[in-house]
């Protein structure tokens, strides 16, 4: 979930896409592609506020923030050095008021990878994949865009519904959020900010699993499995059985085509359950599916979409306004099934992609998140947390619990 507050930028709001390849990438090719891209789609520096709620939503680059992002190259001697490089990418915060909102790094040596790092409110993961697809297209084709020459856009087409209708939907979403538990949810703790840490692991499906096919691929199963992992940690801390509240981002882009849009196209659903509910994962998965189905039936997700647009995609501020939990925690943890890495991106600047995953810097609250994605037959798990929220042992336990719940074995 994006924490967008450039005025009080204290910690990293970065997100990182790591694309590991089977050989070193040519940084000049990447730079050439990026320069061509910027000729017809300049960077936005920041998502600017509307002067009034009904003002036009727009992005604009400041003189400095509009400068082209650098394409850097770094050679790493060991896998450990590669991790240190990623750590630096996650933690070296981007201030879009003063610098380009994205960095590009080509790593070679012990690991070969393209690393895109951006200011999190700029793009969601699928937007980053869209951008990469644009760059790859420009690398091999003189035409400016892979989507029927559609001009790439940072934001979606304007909502043409009447202001009155959008306002009603926004109020409906606020009303829905006021139905969420009013007690502050069980949380990893009040963390003012700090260094982002992460752990990434790759898995493959176990040959034979007792669970029927497909179940584990659904977001409700993944939420339930992660909820079970968190329950164990919360129980060890002897935290009372107060509800977990999780923001679940719903990708609103039409399916089947990555499309030309980069900016966030997310609406939020808020899953809630007690730690004690998480002991029975299949039952919890069913409960979460029911919650999501109800949210769809009642139009909550559509209303939240309108509200996000109405309020300039500032979900955390939106939720704070709705819940008015001054000083209290809002969410317990994050969990997201980041989109699969598209087959269309399996060739990256002349190299074959062997794995790709996404590392978001989890904002100070809730301070911990678990993220899934798949690439090239592998399932990736990334746990990201603010230093101090959980221990390394806790993270190991989370990874193990999720692996068991998903029926995975370590990828070789």
């Amino acid at each position: 979930m994006a924490l967008h507050s450039p005025g009080t930028l204290r910690s990293s709001s970065n997100a990182v896409l790591v694309v590991q390849c089977d050989g070193a990438l040519d940084a000049e090719r990447v730079r050439g592609s990026l320069e061509r891209f910027l000729q017809f789609c300049p960077w936005p520096a920041a998502r600017l506020r509307r002067p009034f709620p009904w003002g036009k939503l727009h992005w604009a680059a400041s003189r400095r923030g509009g400068a082209p992002p650098s394409v850097r190259r770094r050679t790493v001697a060991t896998a450990e050095e590669f991790l240190q490089t990623l750590d630096a990418e996650v933690n070296t915060g981007i201030d879009p008021r003063r610098e380009p909102p994205m960095r590009v790094l080509c790593v070679d040596g012990a690991r070969d990878a393209l690393v895109l790092t951006w200011f999190h409110p700029l793009m969601d993961p699928r937007g980053a994949q869209n951008l990469l697809r644009h760059l790859l297209h420009l690398d091999r084709d003189p035409a400016p865009a892979p989507w029927g020459n559609a001009v790439p856009r940072f934001i979606r087409a304007p909502d043409t519904r009447a202001l009155r209708e959008r306002g009603q939907l926004a109020r409906q979403s606020m009303a829905y959020m006021q139905t969420l538990p009013h007690a502050a949810p069980v949380s990893a703790g009040k963390v003012a900010g700090g260094r982002v840490r992460f752990r990434q692991a790759s898995f493959v499906e176990r040959e034979s699993t007792a669970k029927p096919a497909r179940t584990t691929q659904e977001i409700w199963w993944r939420l339930a499995v992660v909820g079970n992992a968190m329950r164990r940690i919360w129980e060890q801390r002897r935290v009372p059985d107060v509800a977990f509240v999780l923001p679940v981002a719903v990708d609103l882009r039409p399916k089947g085509e990555v499309g030309p849009t980069f900016g966030n196209m997310l609406a939020f659903h808020f899953a809630r359950f007690k730690p004690s509910d998480a002991a029975d994962v299949p039952r919890l998965a069913s409960m979460l599916r029911e919650q999501m189905a109800s949210a769809l039936r009642e139009g909550q997700i559509e209303a939240n979409d309108a509200a996000m647009d109405f309020l300039q995609y500032r979900p955390l501020a939106f939720v704070r306004r709705a819940l008015r939990r001054m000083g209290g925690e809002i969410f317990s943890f994050n969990c997201a099934d980041v989109t699969d890495f598209p087959a269309a991106l399996e060739q990256c600047f002349g190299r074959r992609v062997v794995n790709a995953y996404h590392i978001p810097a989890v904002p100070p609250r809730p301070g911990i998140g678990v993220f899934f994605n798949r690439c090239a037959g592998r399932s990736n798990l990334v746990v990201a947390w603010i230093d101090g929220v959980v221990t390394d042992n806790d993270v190991t336990q989370i990874v193990q619990t999720v692996r068991e719940g998903m029926g995975w074995i370590d990828a070789s």
Partner: protein
């Protein structure tokens, strides 16, 4: 993709076409359409999109798919769902 079936011959065919039309109109990007035998997953149908399909089934066919039926055999494609719906109707 060829379906190997007449366009709207049998009841499963008609249901598969109805499901396909719903998915194309409400979930897929313009210009990217699914056919009755196309598998959902490679077409980018995620959990929430799948829920929309299940809600459509609920409104059109009058039942909510129980957890135990949410398996690949039933959910793989519009035609797999159509077969499931026919079986389910036959049982009730």
């Amino acid at each position: 993709m060829s379906t190997g079936h007449s366009p709207a011959g049998t009841e499963p065919d008609r249901i598969a076409l109805a499901l396909t039309a719903f998915v194309n109109a409400n979930i897929m990007a313009r210009g990217r359409t699914v056919e009755p035998d196309d598998e959902f997953e490679p077409m980018g149908i995620d959990s929430i999109a799948l829920l929309k399909v299940l809600l459509f089934i609920e409104s059109e066919f009058g039942f909510w798919m129980p957890d135990e039926d949410l398996v690949a055999e039933n959910l793989a494609s519009p035609r797999a769902l159509a077969r499931y719906i026919c079986r389910r109707r036959g049982r009730s």
